[in-house]
Symmetry: C2
Subunit: 333 residues, 2 copies
């Protein structure tokens, strides 16, 4: 686990989009962030107080999180002075960038001298077991997509937030670097060695109270040929009791694969449910989450109604309308 709370480092982010990791932390775990740190010329602002390292330290911050993505995922030399000063002041550093903190000699040296830890959340830090398939206590929900990047993480975070708002037992279980930084822990599933993928998901979602729900962050798609193996490990390692189908209706083809069409929601339902029932015969598809960001409000509502009528399942865009109806469906199980 990454020590919280954080100070969010926005660096010299050129625009708001480049700070989406920091924005995710602010949106979903505001209690995890005491403030933001911006360099001159920073074009992003996630709406937290601007703080010096000293002020953040005084406010209890334990980790400086690099909440910015830049071209190529590199650790900019322009950031180094602040990063090293943070280590000297007793902060850990955390990053989900492609280039690793641990490969920067100056950061490694400063961390060592000051007894701090560099958290590269893209790299597994645990020797995960091989999955044993043993039935676990507690409940698990997994979003499976017609494609990659259709809103599965958002759906899980929104359902978790809604459940906790209702006083229900719920935990979001991250499987990618953004989710790991948001919550402070998880499994970077796409970086796990093949034999241990399903075991890593079992490790992430252990036995729990009978009325507790894990919301497991989905990855890839059973229909995306580049990443379907990762998705399959989530379906089998996660032993989901509930599946949510996630979809983005304006895609012309599978993400990054111009020759591949998206499957229908019916095909996704049948395939994912059959595979999930290998590990958990009681699994049900409980609803549909649609990312309607490229539709107008009227178009979105018409599309959601059409899908709901056709599929006979609660169909919502959790960003527009909240995840209440999906949580209602979980509670009704």
């Amino acid at each position: 686990m990454i020590p919280t709370p954080y100070l969010l480092f926005l660096g010299d982010a050129p625009d708001q989009l480049a700070a989406k990791v920091a924005q995710g932390i602010k949106d979903w775990r505001p209690e995890n962030a005491v403030g933001q740190f911006r360099l001159p010329g920073c074009g992003a602002d996630v709406g937290l107080d601007d703080m010096t390292l000293e002020a953040a330290k005084a406010a209890g911050a334990q980790t400086l999180v690099i909440g910015v993505a830049n071209r190529g995922g590199v650790i900019s030399q322009a950031w180094k002075e602040v990063l090293i000063q943070a280590l000297e002041m007793g902060f850990d550093l955390a990053s989900g960038l492609h280039n690793l903190l641990r490969d920067e000699n100056d950061l490694v040296a400063a961390a060592k001298v000051n007894g701090r830890t560099l958290h590269d959340v893209r790299i597994p830090s645990v020797a995960y077991p091989i999955a044993n398939g043993v039935k676990r206590t507690g409940k698990r929900c997994l979003a499976v997509g017609t494609d990659c990047s259709v809103g599965k993480m958002y759906t899980g975070l929104a359902m978790d937030a809604e459940m906790r708002k209702r006083g229900l037992k719920s935990t979001f279980r991250p499987t990618g670097q953004t989710g790991i930084l948001i919550t402070g822990g998880g499994v970077p599933l796409d970086a796990v060695v093949a034999d241990f993928m399903a075991g890593a998901v079992e490790y992430l979602t252990p036995d729990n109270d009978a009325d507790h729900w894990d919301h497991i962050e989905g990855q890839g798609s059973l229909y995306h040929v580049s990443y379907s193996g990762v998705t399959m490990a989530l379906v089998h390692g996660g032993q989901p009791d509930a599946l949510v189908l996630s979809h983005e209706p304006t895609r012309k083809h599978m993400r990054g694969l111009p020759d591949y069409q998206q499957p229908s929601l019916e095909d996704l339902r049948d395939t994912a449910l059959a595979m999930a029932r290998v590990a958990n015969p009681a699994c049900q598809v409980i609803g549909i989450s649609v990312n309607t960001q490229h539709l107008s409000e009227d178009e979105a509502n018409a599309y959601l109604k059409e899908v709901e009528d056709r599929m006979g399942l609660p169909t919502v865009d959790p960003f527009r309308h909240g995840a209440g109806r999906l949580v209602d469906a979980l509670e009704a199980l």
Copy 2:
């Protein structure tokens, strides 16, 4: 690629089963082995000439292959004298053991001094790409199993051998350490990082002549919750034109998973074919390979006939009866 031909090191193997890697090389690629090397007390014999290192070198051997598995997959101290002498004489070393040659300091030092290479075939030696899903030329056949360890590798090797016997263009494409040692190259798929699994399979089975068949070694099972993600990467990365269903009819439960039943051949056919057609809409199931080693000849023949009548597909045990009918089915496609 591992330089061939080999001298097969059987060491102090207690029995024949412990030498099954060496036996596989002898059975499937006899041209890859000039002889065998046994220590005093060795209980295995794969039927090749016993040779000294000197004699093997004179016969052209380039690599000493550790063709023996012992408890825990460790590199025995009792072997070290021979292994180091082999490096000094100009042999490479190759091993599929769990413990790695590269972690033995004395072997690393001797390899360095003598300019030799240590081939740990459990570890990927290539930075595989992410799969791009682009349609490749040539044909590919993949065996998919109702369970792990049901004879998928054997099926692929037998079909490849039969095709080459008929003068057809064919290559066996190994995805596990035994297959890699048999042929001298391949992808250790269970050790590849999740994001690159399907890309590794694409790399293994590149564009080829239109009438050339790759026989891709299968791994795991879509129904085995520990390893199904690896299988999925083979189904999508391999873009198979043909699937063979592999089955072992006497299993009481899925291998290593006492609470899981094997799927029916019908379920496997439908699931694997639907997933394969995502990557290759022309894919067909062409036959069934049954491992009947635990059945008598009469029981085996009755079982094969029953399955063939029920499924309407050529159904053989390639160990008992050869892979001829499976290759006939490929040729008829």
